[in-house]
Structure formats: structure tokens, C-alpha cells
Symmetry: C3
Subunit: 256 residues, 3 copies
Amino acid sequence: MVLTDTNDYIRVLTLNRPDSLNAFNQAIWEGLSDALTDACDDNSVKVIVITGAGRAFSAGADLSQKDQQPSKRPGGSVGVRQFVDQMIEFPKPIIVAVNGLGVEIGATICGLADISYMAESARLRCPFSTLGITAEGASTYTFGHIMGRQAASWFLLGAEWMSAAECKDAGLVLELFPDDEFMDSVMQRAATLAKMPLASLLETKVLMMAPHREGMHAANTRETEALARLSGGPANREAISAFLEKRDPDFSHLEQ
Amino acid sequence: MVLTDTNDYIRVLTLNRPDSLNAFNQAIWEGLSDALTDACDDNSVKVIVITGAGRAFSAGADLSQKDQQPSKRPGGSVGVRQFVDQMIEFPKPIIVAVNGLGVEIGATICGLADISYMAESARLRCPFSTLGITAEGASTYTFGHIMGRQAASWFLLGAEWMSAAECKDAGLVLELFPDDEFMDSVMQRAATLAKMPLASLLETKVLMMAPHREGMHAANTRETEALARLSGGPANREAISAFLEKRDPDFSHLEQ
Amino acid sequence: MVLTDTNDYIRVLTLNRPDSLNAFNQAIWEGLSDALTDACDDNSVKVIVITGAGRAFSAGADLSQKDQQPSKRPGGSVGVRQFVDQMIEFPKPIIVAVNGLGVEIGATICGLADISYMAESARLRCPFSTLGITAEGASTYTFGHIMGRQAASWFLLGAEWMSAAECKDAGLVLELFPDDEFMDSVMQRAATLAKMPLASLLETKVLMMAPHREGMHAANTRETEALARLSGGPANREAISAFLEKRDPDFSHLEQ
């Protein structure tokens, strides 16, 4: 579910479930988590690149696999909360390469990356409100930090699609590249970092995360608690019914 | 002094003292505060829009009403400090619609809003230094967060007018709209939020404010104390004399 | 080593070692520190401007003077750590005028300034990784605050030159001016601030620094400790050897 490729100190992790637009199911959460652990422990890896196979980056959580199976993984099961904590603590530079559409964690992961790049045709969406739930991925901290609270409020509350140009203007990705040169351009940037001594990369990253680490973990915890309050509630149930019935949700009766 | 209008879960609060450019006097502070409390308690309201009647948004504090009357309001008197605390704690999304010029709290309120929009011909100014006082509205926290400390320093120390384009570049407002389409455009954005379930709006807003709430209250407290130190001091007295005598203030003798 | 000029409440401090591109040696650190103390104590000074003599702003630390002499200065020796702490605590507005190239502290000082301006032909670089060391000047706090963590990561990890336009887009400087009008334009901005009463400048600056002071000092402390860990280590030794042998450093063997 997660392809691994290493060249010149750069490890590329590719979400590989293209028929499901690389939606996160349990196998992807755990495969990506294990791949990060390997990349952390491997001295031949200085820089990590996360991207998606096929036309999408990631469609977010797989709604058809909502009920997580008990994990047979030695370290216990991995979901969004565990993954976010792992990203916050990860010591080597992580580049997120948004090759196509990104939804939910496929969008909020940009705020967890050290640097994100985006293909010009890609777009992102955080549809949490329309699902009757709330934002995740520590985005209620990182998005405000990156783009200011106003743009973050609109993006996280309003659930609109955001074009690549809008994502760049907001600072959610550092640069856009044409689709047909996308991964080549990303790998050039990664190579610039991979020429540096690992000791400098590690020390500088830990310094840069120091002002944010605690705030990001706290946001992850609060978001997890809020999600637990909203999951299965009236708005979330209406959103799921509407999804199954292929209609727009109608939340108006909930506010009577 | 504050008009109220509700449609489709959106409550519009209009500062209505157009002959005084909607300057904040005691009736406006208390009327706006009470209107916010009503909007908070009313389950038919999801989103609040604050705007101004006539050509101005708000000229700031009414200098002709500096001495506040003892309030007959049950909750006690309301001034800038109480209003700012109320805005920080307000649980539903607030959109500030800057329809015309904004001065002092008519400018700094943009940093208290979840989202601000601005008419293309409008402009903002924070003339605190020229009045011999200092910034309010928690702007010494929010402006640095929104636009970086450099732009915030220039705007708050330098007291220059800031065009709509400059305000948008700085991130102080999210979008500009042509004057003749302004409120229609704002209401379209508000309608996007008002379609969402209230539970998601409330949970997401509280998450997004969590990293900032304490810092904003602390700034409000510090600003109130600093204002008390400067009010009636030599620079403030010179500014008031110059205003009454219709001349530019001259602070040079104060630094001998 | 540091020229001083005062006019109309503005004190200009000019790094004056143009033959060494105004690189910081002990005399510059201590001269600038003493000049700041004088400007702080002098009631005829409201605003400080720091710039460089000749074509460069500052080439950073002077590698040929790495071993600091025991200082005969009454207050003890001054290096980057002491200077950064002094900048963080300095009570009057400081404008950094980047007249030409800036490297290391010649770049990171922009994050310590209240406002920075840059000549259109100037450029900045933070080559810490290529030297086998890590970032200083509290930049691991200020750069993330100013430009977001992504742009800051690229600038501080990637060690690439950053053009004036890129510095302005990132918010590291507030405005660019043509080279031949540069200091005139900076002095006009400084004059706008210098017309204000000192009491307002002091109170507003302390309010604006309050949310950041502790975080900036903590970053300075962490950076100093990290620099001590990396100085003289394998990557730093390879960088110095490469510099002396006029070749590119090769850090690849360090990651075996």
C-alpha cells in the first residue's frame, strides 16, 4: 500500500491505492507509519518525500472502512491521531508532494510537512463541516500559523475547494510546478537538502519545531476529543445518510 | 444605535450612527455587546456579520464622549476592554464587513474577527501614536500573528492610512469586493458558512481559537494598562490640544 | 568599526568594515552593542537604523577571526548570543536597512528588527547547513513566525541565495527600494516614526514584543547550545577544510 524508493539519501514514500484515490484505510495508515519509522532509523536516508500514485494525492479517510479492525501490528493500531503525533516528532525533513487532489488528511498533511509542493492542476479541500465533524491533522494550529486565522477559518469552516494558486498564496505549499515536471522539480529541491550534512538537518529541524511542537500536539489532542463528540451525532448522521442517498445534506432542521 | 437583521441563520449587526461615521460612544459599545449576547443565545443564528451604516465603517472611539457615563446597564458598563474580551470568547463565527473607512477599533476589530472582508474604496488607520496613546483591540497580538511583526509595527507605530489593497496583502482582510457589490458578496460568503451544521462551526471555531485565546486576552490586559499610563500624559495632552486647535501635534519638546 | 550619525531623532549605525564586507569580528560585535546601549540611553534618539558601509550589508561572522580574544570591554565580551539578547530587549524601534548582500547574522538580523527594508539588488543567504552548523539569531523562531515554517525551513536548511523579491514575498523585509534611492527612502520611513512621541513608540513596541520575547530568547539559547554541539564536529571540519582548499564540501562519507 506504500511504495518505498531510496536514491541519493532521499526516500520517496508513495501512497499506492490509486483505484481508491489513495484514501487512507488501516493498511495505509500502518504502512506509512512503519515506512516513516524505517526512514528514521536508516542512516542512508536524510530527506523523506511523501506523494501519491496515479492522479490523486489522497482522498482522505476511507469512509467505507470507518470501523477499524483490531490491529495485528506489534506497535498497536495506527489512525490519524497516532500518525499526526509521529509526523510532529519525526526528526528528518519531510517534503509533501501534492501530485493531485487532496482531501481531509490529504490536505491537512501539508501543515505537518516541513515543506510542501503542489502540481498546478491539483486542488485541496477540507470538507469537515459538510460531514458534520471537525478538522484534524493539527490543522487548527498549523493552518492559522501558516495562513493566518482568517484564511484558515474560511478553509476549515467553509469546506470549499482551494486551487493550487490559492494554496500557494495562503502559504500552504511553498511552490507550484507544472504537472508534467512535478516530481522532477520536487526531487531537485529534495536533492538540495540531501547534499547537506545530516547533523545540520537534524539540529536545525528540531530547533524550528521547538516553538510549535507542544502547540501541535495539543491541537491533535483537542481535535481527537472534538471528533469523538461529533462522530455519530445528528449532523454527522445526516451527512452520512446524504452521502449514501447521493443527495446534498440538509442541516437546517438541526438548528430548530 | 445597532441595527439587527436575521435571514437564513445569518445575523447582520449594523453600527448605525452614520452622522458620526459610526464612532463608538457608550450606546454603541453597549448596543453591540448586547446584540452579540443575543446572537450567541439564539439557536436560529449561526453566523454574525458586523458592518456600518452609510459611507464609513467606524471612525473609532468618539473623542467628544471620552468621559463615560455611569451605565444603567444590568451587566455594567462596556468599553473597549470588555468588548474585546467578549469578541475573543464569542463562540459563533464572526465576519467583519469593512464597508468604508475604519479607524482605531474600526481597524483593529479585523484582527478579532474570524474573517474580514473590505470594500475596494475603504481604508484603515491606527493613529494611536499620533494621539500619544497606544494600540488596542488586542492588535498588538493579532496584527503580528496575521501580518508578521514588521508590517504590524509599521501599521501600529507609523499611523499611516492603509489602502484596501495593502490590507489584503497584509492578510488583515481575506478578500476585497467592489463597493457596489460589497454586501452581496459578503452575504454569499456568510451563506456558505451558514449552510454548515452549527455543531461543526462551534467545535471548529473553539479549536482554532485555542492556540490564541490566552495570548489575545493577555494583550488586551496589557494594552488597557498601557493606555491608562499614557492617557492624560504630556503626549496625549499635546495631541488633544492640537486636535482642538486644528493643528498638527508637535511632540518634539517632549523628548528634550 | 561602527559609525554613528544622529539627525532629527534618528540614529544611524553603519557597520564600517567595507573591505571585509562588514563581516562581524569582535570589534564590530562590541562596537554595535555599545552603540545600541548609547542609543537606548540618549533621550534625543527615538529610532535606530542599522546599515552597512560600501556595497555589502554584512557577510556574517568573520571566519578568519573564529577564536575570540578575551575582551577588555567592561561589560564582558559580546558575540552573537549576547547581541541577539540585546536586540530582543531593545526598547526603541530598530530599522534594519539591507543595503547589499547579507549572510548569516547579516540575514537573520532582519527577523530581530522591528522593520527591515532592502535594496533591490541585495540578496540574503543562510549557509548554516553547508558549514556543518545550524541557524542563529533566533531565526529558528522569527523566520517561522514571519514567513511560515515551510519557507523558513527551505531558507534555513537549503542554504540557497534569496533575492530581494523573494525576501519581500516571504515578509522578511517590508519594502524594497531602488539601490540609488535606498537610504533616502529608508530615512523617510524612519522620519515618519521619529515624529511620534517617544512614549507611544516605547509602550507600543513593548506590547508588540510581549507575545514573542520569551520564545525568541529560548530560541537563542537552544541555537547556542546546538552550535556548541556541531562546532568542530565532522561536518563542520569538512566544511572548513573545503573552504581552505577552495573546493565544495562533501558530506556523503559522514552518513555511512
